[in-house]
Symmetry: C2
């Protein structure tokens, strides 16, 4: 993208927001040049906007000259009510699941065509995952993703399939027809499994949190070591997801 | 503040950020007029900036016409590394404390002259508190606040005292001399108590999480029903805070 500059008619506000858009889980710290490249802004513009964001507290300068997201943005972001109510309702159930299993517990919501992790509980004993709070997971290759996909409009599945079902491991479902069949099974049983389709050595089971209107609000999942473990945990995950739905409903 | 408009020389970026600044724990949803009043922007300007923030996903429009913080800001805010690393290190210790006590567990950091709650664990059995994640607590009237204050520079105590020690309950320490004496005791014992100084019926005990440089990075606290409970829990809180410090150090 280097060398291209932003649309000339773009507003100053939009440019400022495009600086924030440069940062994500894969890029939590960026240099001025990286921000300019990723936002397609001239370096001078990027420098000025970064300066304003630092003065406000939205970005912080690191000792090595790079920038990262600051506390001000964290504080404002924590006001987002969709996560807030859901997380507060879900936390006791997530704790119970964690206490009973000592495995990774994940709470996700749909964002665009990904599952966004809004909370997780883990321990050093649990199977390592690359999931961070605020991180995105593919819908077709994770338990939580399939739980969301199975209970969403057909258009979402079409968008996901059109974008291409990326192969994460040899076990990833990459054919739309096979994925649709798997989702039909999820709708029937109320739980979604993922057998090493995202990460080798990690299996997961998840259940949707449905609203009063029948729409999927979130998905709760457990990531564990073995197929036997998730088979055994499926009823617990489903019960916890139903409990969360009742509290948030 | 109504009727006053923003500094004319203020940049567009600063105006956009001042719209975001309108939202806090006490004001999670605001109307256009309220945003204009709180940001001291003309209504037409506020409307345009809100529109840009909505299009970006930083704000969302509610059915009643008000606005609240959206998922985009939550996602970017979750990248703030100060909370991120601290929270990940603290969570297992917070879980253990919660499991052992079933009381409110709070993790806070210093922000300006307040303690900012960056995580909490609670249950329906625990004593009700008004603390929300992202919410601010007074330093002089809470266990976590005193733990931070006791291990911070003297300038912070002076700033807090100069701002006035607000009386939250009849038990709040409102004299700077008495507060300084209480903090000296906190430094000696390593734990800070708060006996109904913030909320009647709620007592707390907290311990600082100190960095390798001896500076206070955070405070971990338990809020419980009775004085006997917090006296008994003090060693557990202190041990957990030391454990978090070792992990983050």
């Amino acid at each position: 993208m280097a060398g291209r500059t932003n649309t000339p008619g773009q507003t100053v506000s939009r440019r400022l927001l495009s600086v924030l858009d440069c940062f994500d889980v894969a890029h939590p710290a960026l240099s001025l040049t990286e921000v300019a490249t990723r936002s397609r802004l001239p370096v001078s513009t990027a420098r000025r906007l970064i300066g304003e964001l630092c003065a406000w507290g939205g970005l912080e300068r690191l000792d090595d000259g790079r920038y990262r997201v600051g506390m001000r943005l964290w504080t404002i972001g924590s006001l987002a009510p969709r996560q807030r109510g859901l997380r507060e309702a879900a936390l006791p159930f997530m704790h119970d699941l964690f206490q009973a299993t000592q495995e990774n517990i994940q709470l996700t919501v749909l964002e665009g065509t990904h599952a966004l992790c809004i909370d997780k509980i883990s321990s050093s004993k649990a199977v390592p995952t690359m999931t961070h709070i605020g991180g995105r997971l593919p819908l077709h290759a994770t338990g939580v993703g399939k739980a969301i996909l199975a209970f969403s409009d057909k258009e979402l599945l079409r968008s996901v399939a059109d974008a291409g079902l990326a192969r994460m491991t040899p076990h990833t479902i990459t054919q739309p027809g096979r994925l649709a069949a798997a989702l039909a099974e999820v709708r029937k049983t109320g739980v979604a499994y993922c057998y090493e389709e995202m990460t080798l050595g990690a299996v997961s089971v998840a259940a949707p949190v449905l609203g009063m209107d029948g729409k999927v609000r979130a998905a709760l999942g457990i990531v564990a070591h073995s197929r036997a473990a998730v088979d055994r945990l499926a009823p617990a995950v489903r019960a916890a997801a139903l409990g969360i739905a009742r509290w948030t409903g």
